[in-house]
Amino acid sequence: MTSRYSAFSLFKEGLAGQKGWVPAWRSPEPKGSYDAIIIGGGGHGLATAYYLARTHGITNVAVLEKGWIGGGNTGRNTTVVRSNYYYPESVALYGLAHKLYEGLSKELNYNVMLSQRGMVTLCHSMNELEIAARTVNAMQINGTDAELYTPEDVRRVAPIYNFEPDARFPVFGGVWQGRAGTARHDAVAWGYARGASRLGVDIIQNCEVTDFIVEGGRCRGVQTTRGTMRAERIGMAVAGHSSVLSAKAGFRLPINSYALQACVSEPVKPILDTVVLSPGPGVYVSQSDKGEMVIGGALDRIPSYGQRGNLPTLEGVIAGLLEMFPAFGQLKLMRQWAGIVDVVPDSSPIIGESPLPGLFLNCGWGTGGFKAIPAGGTLLAHLLATGRHHDISRPFDLDRFVTGRLLDEAAGSGIAH
């Protein structure tokens, strides 16, 4: 039986006809009660379960996933990992995730393929350069790596960008985060699932929550398509469907669900070695390790749960991409898809106890949830284990919408919402 992953185990199993590999996660029958239940088997939900078990020693936990794990936004994003945000609270949050990503493969014994190839957010005018300086300074003051790039710096990291004099989006400079990059999205979900399952967490797929059990004004469990399950602490991490669940729990959220499209070109030999975002057309691109250009842009501006977008947005994104990288005009689009994102007015997540005591939220990540998975998991686990906020999650509580203490990171997410 080979449960540990390594070059040696590959060698051993290669000789043994791959017969000794064990399931990456167990698929047990759900129990009637747990110490904690997490709704949502994406990256955030699985990471929460992992940290509950690993950091807090709480292993009698179930992760309930209505489909197959990692099948929501975790399996649909453009895989960028970064922490180039403006407010100190955001830098603390995404910085925590970034740091955890850096040690994640070794922690999980699963290669998440974190590729810290850097990311440059371009500036196309003096005004944008001034805003970039403001951001870089904020990042440096708040303790994360950032550099203000000159056009020559940009040319060095992205030589095939459009530096022609008649370029629509000329480069005046950029914000560079060297530690930023990409990671393999499926691996993050599967790695956390495997880690959590080995520590005793039950991962229950094909299990949809149909209602909450509320007794004495507290949430005490869930009704699901696979039976009733009770727990004193319930967390939800169901990007795209947060409002659907919150409606069942009797409260609203400051969320609108939108389709976020992404697409890939056919795979080609390495040609782009960093992540490039241009606020001009609102497009960003990186090259996957398989060779595909992974392309993202703005939302389809029509509220939707359809997990699909339409041509106008796709055309706009691709036109923008070709303006940035004319050489990509020789490539073909191989596949397009979309996820459902929770869009929140200040582009910052919502973490904390919900208006229903006993039910805890981790949602509102908008287009930027993937990069934050280890932090979302850590912080929701802390809430479920202690009933209280971690210092880093406190500013993101739902009550900020009442106090007005929003953390408007519209500039920070690069693509305006």
Binding site: R252, L253, S257, P303, Y305, G306, F401, T403
Partner: protein
């Protein structure tokens, strides 16, 4: 390219329209409690399925209410805003 119905101009490309929020989110005037104001300003139903929304047709500038489905994207109807404003 989705097709939406402007009650004044007829069926037009989705790119001519802009989402204006959930229908029925009435503004509370006056010194309301902070929670009530936050509800109006931020909290949303965001339904999965049939929705009733306010949209504006950019070309003619008219706001109207559209009924559609947020999953199937079927458009079931468009009506002008309130009788007294029509």
């Amino acid at each position: 390219m989705q097709l939406f119905n402007c009650p004044f101009c007829g069926p037009r490309d989705e790119t001519e329209f802009h989402f204006g929020g959930e229908a029925g989110n009435l503004r509370p005037d006056g010194d309301v409690p902070a929670e009530r104001w936050a509800d109006y300003l931020y909290m949303r139903h965001n339904p999965k399925g049939p929705v009733r929304e306010v949209w504006v047709h950019g070309n003619c500038g008219e706001f109207f209410v559209m009924e559609r489905d947020s999953v199937s994207h079927t458009v079931s109807g468009s009506t002008t805003l309130g009788g007294e404003h029509a």
